[in-house]
Amino acid sequence: MFAPSLAVAGGYGLEWRVMIQLKNLSKTYSTRGVEHTALEDVSLTIEDGDIFGIIGISGAGKSTLVRCINLLEKPTSGSVVIDGIDVTAFDGRQLSDLRATIGMIFQDFNLFAQRTVLENVTFPLEIRGDDRADRERRGMELLDLVGLSAKAKQYPSQLSGGQQQRVSIARALANHPRVILCDEATSALDSLTTNSVLKLLRQINQEMGVTMVAITHEIGVVEKICNRVAVIDGSRIVEQGSAAEVLEDPRTDVTRRLLGRVRWDA
């Protein structure tokens, strides 16, 4: 389906296809008459094969931003374009079909505690009505990929945090997604486990050409796997560019702070 060599992040000036385009997105919540702005005029272009980091401190709006991509949050204004199609107004069946092509993984894994590891991985196929035999075959293939085929019949509570995140990555891949959204995917993991999960994500990006959008507050995630990055602060994008450039030459105070380049005594 994908030619892996074309999809490697940071390639050689080949023509990139735009995968996700966010145009002037804004999101305001109103709770008991009080307006709260989560996103203000956010525009981003994410290309096919990118590992796109969105970094910011907590409360900056990154969680809302990533949820606008699969419309778990409906933007108040602006548009979401995925693979050339404006999906902002999608709902019902159309929205379900769109979401099926976008995998998502979470900080707390969000695995189904009452389902086996294999049943977790095949959940996206089950809701699309695939045969049990077909989905189990695909599920075992994916568990193999993440190195957990021996755990297929166990339950999430029997696994470590890192293993649970691997299961959720396998689940996100079940439907052959074009994009995987990572919501603080490694923030609940220790540093060794974080590295192995990040390596797995990079491997999936390189071998299957899956575009990744990773929101995080850890600059390490950007350094290790992202080719492009946007910095979000106070509901706005304050800086974006190639990860190398932004890390090398941060232009805003927030970015410098996220990079840990602060004077402690100041």
Partner: protein, 222 residues
Amino acid sequence: MREFLTEYGQLLVDGTLATLAMVFISTAITYVLGVPLGVLVTVTAPGSLKPHRGLNAVLGWIVNTGRSIPFIILLVALIPVTRLIMGTSLGTAGAIVPLVVAATPFVARMVESSLAELSSGVIEAALSYGASTWQVIWKVMLRESLPSIARGASITLITLVGYSAMAGAVGAGGLGDIAIRYGYYRYQDDVMIATIVILIVLVQLIQTSGDLAARALDKRNR
């Protein structure tokens, strides 16, 4: 003892069977009604899957009203309704209507609290894979809450054992009826004590098997 059993054994066996019939039939019907009601109250709540302020308020009001009427009053007040539905207000058949009416709001609230234990992240994950509202309810909310709902079922059964004894006072039969007729009106303490012992054993059995079932169902903490 032998004398007591020959005299009252059959009576107590019949009473126990009548109580069991009332309790289990009512519980089954109650769950058929109470689970959808609990789910509806949950998903129409603000910020849930299908928020609907009006419907949520109406359902909440119905559930609270149902729960605030003392059972003994409900029992008498419902007699015409029971006659209409069952053709009689007496016996096991007559007890089922008031028992179901009393227990349905109770079960709805219990199902609601079972569903509330579920993390919103799990529901969000299901939605992110394209699950429909119905699939989220069926394949995620109910399935993930099953052990907790099973625990609630033993509480419901035990509550209905108690209610059925009250129903016995107005002609439903069963152990409550025996306890009142023999123990209260005729001062036959031995019969009353026997019914109490049977009720204690019954409640213990229900609780124990409910706990076992919930534990067998629950895949967490293995």
